[in-house]
């Protein structure tokens, strides 16, 4: 071996292209080395690294599952929103015939899409069947129920005030006892969902900060564990970016594995919920099925994990690496 300092005497112009290529190759090579090395470090202490990833995974899974819940509730409630109906309770004096005429007359109103008449006799029969108060109802002399007309407003292009005006108009009609519009609770639900949405944003932010701190702290510990190595590397001319690269990749791995663990947790939970939700939906004669993460959102979840991992390790590396000087 000839330990002589080589000094190349080459023309810079001529070799600028090959020099650039050499540097690029070196850059790729060093990234590849750091990438594989950090994965190797991960595999070296599988238990502690998986535990760290699991903590990150749970932190990611929590807000994600809330989002999913919100998504599902929104989906269900949007179906309801379209089927808003007005219930008209007619005066008890109005008999079946009058009620039928009235229902037909209402249909001529362009704001009304559809009317369904429920005869007081039919209503009573159904009520007797469902309520279990058959004997008590039989004891009554006459049918206490009024005729009812269900009205489906022409919801397309109809806004809140138009609906309300329609109801006011209906209420003034002599045949009508009262008109009920069951929109209030949907409104409330929507506002509630809005609040829940905000809560989830706050929660997600806090948990994201938590993930940053967890990864930052883990990287900080590994920086201190590998202090000797960093010192030696600095002494033999390792640049800062060379030294920080494996730590950044470690952060990336933590984030990626955390994301995958979160994805698995959510997938398992969804699988566990799917059956009972379907049974419940069947009871409501709905073929609703739980909305899962889907491909894009799964990638997004893992991507967010990776970004958080990189950010966490970057913050830690910037703070702690410069503090180590060769001694």
């Amino acid at each position: 071996m000839k330990p002589v300092n080589k000094k190349k005497n080459t023309l810079p112009n001529k070799n600028i292209k090959s020099e650039l290529k050499r540097r690029f190759d070196m850059w790729i090579l060093q990234h590849l080395q750091a990438f594989i090395f950090s994965l190797g470090q991960f595999a070296k202490y599988p238990l502690s690294n998986i535990l760290t990833s699991a903590v990150i995974g749970i932190s990611l899974a929590l807000p994600t599952s809330f989002y999913l819940l919100l998504d599902n509730v929104r989906f269900v409630s949007s179906n309801w929103n379209g089927s808003v109906q007005v219930t008209l309770f007619l005066q008890t004096e109005v008999d079946d015939k009058q009620a039928a005429t009235f229902a037909n007359k209402l249909k001529e109103n362009e704001l009304i899409n559809e009317t369904t008449l429920i005869n007081r006799a039919d209503a009573l029969a159904e009520y007797q069947k469902l309520s279990g108060f058959a004997d008590a109802l039989n004891a009554l002399d006459e049918n206490p129920l009024p005729n009812v007309i269900l009205i489906k407003p022409a919801t397309d292009g109809m806004n809140e005030t138009q609906t309300e005006n329609l109801i006011k108009e209906l209420q003034t009609m002599p045949e009508v006892d009262s008109a009920q519009y069951d929109s209030q609770w949907i409104k409330r639900l929507l506002y509630l969902l809005d609040i829940i949405n905000r809560v989830i944003i706050i929660l997600s932010t806090l948990l994201a900060i938590g993930v940053l701190l967890i990864i930052g702290n883990t990287i900080r510990l590994s920086i201190y564990n590998r202090r000797a190595e960093i010192e030696i590397t600095k002494l033999f001319g390792g640049t800062d970016s060379f030294i920080q690269r494996p730590f950044l990749y470690s952060g990336l791995w933590y984030g990626a594995f955390g994301g995958i663990i979160a994805w698995l947790l959510i997938g398992t939970s969804m699988q566990m919920l799917r059956g009972p939700v379907k049974q419940l939906a069947n009871l409501y004669a709905s073929n609703f099925e739980l909305i899962g993460l889907g491909f894009v959102n799964s990638l997004l979840l893992i991507g967010i994990g990776i970004i958080l991992g990189l950010c966490g390790s970057w913050i830690s590396v910037k703070r702690h690496l410069s503090a180590i000087d060769p001694v």
């Binding site: 071996m1 330990p3 300092n5 060093q30 190595e229 030696i232 033999f236 001319g237 060769p326």
Partner: protein, 226 residues
């Protein structure tokens, strides 16, 4: 070439480690720096490697004025220097191959080239059979030789050794010094800080003695007035 002109070094805690040091070491020379603990031997080496920056005066290494080397360029500057330590400072979770190859990995060599050079360096210190061992399984002397291989594997212009034989018995110390001589013969400038005066006198090289941060004596050849 290493030239110190009126160099002073005062640490942040007020400790004056070097006072008005003048010295010139020609390219390809081999020099021993001796003196008691705290005399400034390590400081001298640290200033050459830009681990610390001197407070006053001028240091020129291979034509480069160290004051002009910006912090960003320090890593590139250090790639021309090899280091040896009393406590080896090998990485215990890496094989001998990985330890010796570290300076080459840092400099971005390709794997085949690294393998070739690491094998050559280990062959030089007669440790080729241990290439896949871990440092812990080696004796103290062997670990020290791994350190030597690591210090020269990237063919540095200057080799700095801080008490390289501090933990070795006389026979092993002698072997290590002879190894340094071999590197010196192929053109490496070698600076060795050591307090083992008896041994370095027998090696018949230039000796710089430091006392309380000043150069006390120059002995051996070639000599230059400070």
């Amino acid at each position: 070439m290493i030239r110190f002109t009126n160099v002073n070094m005062t640490y942040a805690d007020g400790n004056e480690a070097l006072r008005n040091v003048n010295l010139h070491i020609a390219q390809g020379a081999m020099v021993y720096i001796t003196g008691r603990s705290g005399a400034g031997k390590s400081t001298l080496l640290r200033l050459i490697a830009l681990i610390d920056r001197h407070s006053r005066g001028q240091i020129i290494i291979n034509g480069q004025n160290l004051e002009r080397v910006r912090n960003r360029r320090i890593p590139l500057f250090r790639r021309h220097i090899g280091f040896m330590f009393q406590d080896h400072r090998l990485l215990h979770d890496r094989t001998v191959f990985d330890n010796v190859g570290l300076p080459l990995v840092i400099a971005g060599y390709r794997h085949q080239e690294i393998r070739k050079r690491v094998q050559a360096a280990l062959d030089k210190v007669s440790l080729l059979p241990k290439i896949n061992s871990y440092p812990m399984s080696l004796s103290g002397g062997e670990q020290q030789r791994v350190g030597v291989a690591r210090a020269v594997v990237h063919r540095p212009a200057i080799l700095l050794a801080d008490e390289p034989t501090g933990n070795l018995d006389p026979a092993l110390s002698w072997d290590t010094m002879k190894l340094f001589e071999q590197f010196n013969q192929v053109g490496v400038t070698v600076l060795i800080a050591s307090h083992d005066l008896d041994m370095i006198k027998r090696l018949q090289k230039r000796i710089i003695t430091l006392k309380s941060g000043r150069i006390l004596t120059h002995a051996g050849t070639p000599m230059e007035e400070s």
